[in-house]
């Protein structure tokens, strides 16, 4: 393969941005989760997601041949202009409470499993390798979220909190499946096996079984092609860049 081409770069950046921001969101829970085991679990999961993001950015930064260079990875991972990001709104919205954090963790990871499957046989070898590594970690993420939901969903008080979070987050979560720029080309040259939205029904079915919701009630937010940022994104980006923006010449 000689270079990724603009379209495939865009396709990979959308995935990398989602992984980065999902990890970013999980980092907020260290020390303030309901009990210490959860502090530890969320921070392990966050590290895994940030690691997936780093692997994807490294492929893009090296134009298909992953680089091991923090500065080049960070040039992509901290793009200053919100309009240049390709993240889904699900990972941009701030989780108001732990119910939202847990439900998002489940919704995202259910979709993430399918998303890695789309590139498990990728013609881009480093991407297929990243998919194999990611799945080894993701099965634990899913087991973690399911273990908690198994106990918390059937109880009236906690079940209601989780259903409220689900109602807030589901429209944004469906946005994970919005076609992204470059996907057509990525599928055409075997980087991905099929467009991601071909897996939407399977994911919706899992949501229905997990939360006992009627899928017809799932109203996706209007598709934006991932070009519009959630209102919570701006403050998050400022926070992420706060230290690096103190001095553009500094290396930390």
């Amino acid at each position: 393969m000689t270079g990724l081409g603009t379209a495939v770069r865009e396709f990979l950046l959308a995935f990398a941005d989602d992984e980065h921001l999902m990890g970013q969101q999980h980092t907020e829970w260290i020390g303030v989760a309901p009990f210490l085991e959860e502090d530890l679990a969320f921070s392990s999961i966050a590290q895994d997601e940030l690691g997936h993001a780093a692997a994807l950015y490294a492929i893009v930064a090296g134009d298909g041949d992953p680089v091991d260079d923090d500065l080049r990875i960070d040039e992509l991972a901290f793009r200053p202009s919100p309009g240049d990001w390709r993240s889904a709104q699900l990972v941009e919205v701030a989780a108001g409470d732990w119910a939202h954090a847990l439900v998002r963790h489940w919704l995202y990871d259910a979709a993430e499993q399918l998303r890695w499957e789309q590139v498990a046989q990728s013609s881009l070898a480093p991407l297929a390798e990243a998919a194999a590594r990611a799945e080894r970690e993701e099965r634990y993420h899913r087991r973690h979220a399911d273990g908690l939901l198994d106990v918390l969903l059937p109880v009236p008080d906690s079940g209601e909190r989780l259903q409220t979070a689900l109602a807030d987050l589901l429209p944004l979560a469906v946005g994970l499946f919005d076609p992204v720029a470059g996907e057509v080309e990525a599928v055409a040259n075997g980087v991905a096996s099929a467009p991601f939205d071909t897996r939407l029904d399977e994911w919706t079915d899992r949501v229905r079984r997990r939360f006992d919701v009627d899928p017809s009630q799932i109203q996706p937010a209007p598709p934006t092609g991932r070009l519009e940022r959630h209102p919570d994104f701006g403050p998050m980006l400022v926070r992420m860049r706060e230290v690096m923006d103190l001095d553009p010449a500094a290396v930390w």
Partner: protein, 311 residues
């Protein structure tokens, strides 16, 4: 049931002979209380230290850097987790009671975590100065610790803290070789964190200190403190930073550094929960704890198959 001793003299002779106490031994109550209080403060400090650092994790300048600092803070919370279990096994308080006493402001944690990390420089200074001071204290406990469960946990904690200190050192070096903005920021952090870090060792050990007599501590506070000063003063100066101690003296004959008079009032204030950031720290932690009560309540009442995930 483990071992029993006929008298305190008998017990102390056992300790002096290098004896290791285990959780099921019939240890004297005064020893149990003293060891528990020590472990409780260590555990609380690991947790509050993690909370001090967490504010800056989402702002870490770099993606893989962010993974590293998150792993570091995760280690600190992990230490708290291990220590709370060791403490709870002593049958004085449950783990829940220890944490709730902390968040109610009823128990102690190290002075340094009564301050706020206000800049990224503070974050680096904590993993450099504070972690080094904590590590020195822990190593001195590990060396001769008579309480077996604590000693075994300390072995792991110390190996992880060694990594943290090296990580702090590496980050400090990058700042030292960095821009004027970085160096100015870090000097400010040194000015703010030098004295609290030094005070972390505590005032000179008293002659009758039971922690020394019962082989919990193996070295006197003033010895550990002097060694830390001796290590960090020349190191910081070699990178062109200054140490905010006007009374600092250098003995050219022995090439040794001695700190000036130490004001212990700031330390006393933190121990009375009146440190610069004590009230906010405790209030925030208590509010977060209250906000997630609904989760614990359900898990506490969950069937046994789910008990593995409950606190």
């Amino acid at each position: 049931m483990g071992r029993t001793w006929t008298s305190m003299d008998d017990f102390e002779a056992f300790l002096d002979g290098g004896g290791i106490v285990e959780v099921d031994d019939d240890m004297p109550d005064a020893y149990r209380q003293a060891v528990f209080a020590f472990i409780e403060m260590h555990a609380n400090s690991e947790l509050m230290g993690g909370l001090t650092e967490r504010d800056w994790i989402p702002r870490t300048p770099g993606l893989r850097h962010k993974m590293a600092v998150l792993a570091k803070t995760q280690d600190e919370i992990g230490h708290a987790h291990l220590l709370y279990m060791v403490g709870a096994d002593m049958d004085i308080k449950t783990r829940r009671e220890i944490i709730e006493d902390l968040f109610a402001g009823r128990s102690k944690f190290h002075n340094v975590f009564h301050y706020q990390a206000k800049t990224w420089g503070d974050q680096v200074a904590i993993s450099f100065l504070v972690d080094a001071a904590a590590l020195a204290s822990q190593q001195a406990v590990f060396k001769n610790c008579s309480y077996g469960p604590y000693r075994r946990i300390l072995k792991r904690i110390i190996s992880e803290e060694g990594f943290h200190m090296r990580m702090g050192e590496e980050r400090m070096l990058r700042i030292a070789d960095g821009t004027e903005v970085q160096r100015t920021m870090f000097q400010q952090s040194l000015d703010d964190w030098w004295w609290p870090s030094l005070q972390l060792f505590g005032p000179d050990s008293k002659p009758g200190d039971v922690l020394l007599r019962w082989h919990i501590k193996s070295e006197r506070n003033e010895v550990l403190r002097a060694r830390w000063v001796q290590k960090f003063v020349p190191l910081l100066m070699s990178y062109g930073f200054s140490v905010p101690d006007p009374g600092l003296t250098h003995d050219p004959a022995t090439d040794s550094w001695t700190s000036g008079p130490i004001d212990w009032e700031p330390l006393k204030r933190t121990m009375a929960m009146r440190g610069p950031d004590s009230a906010r720290r405790i209030a925030d932690a208590a509010a977060n704890w209250a906000d997630t009560h609904w989760v614990r309540r359900v898990l506490d009442n969950a069937p046994a198959r789910a008990a593995g995930v409950a606190a």
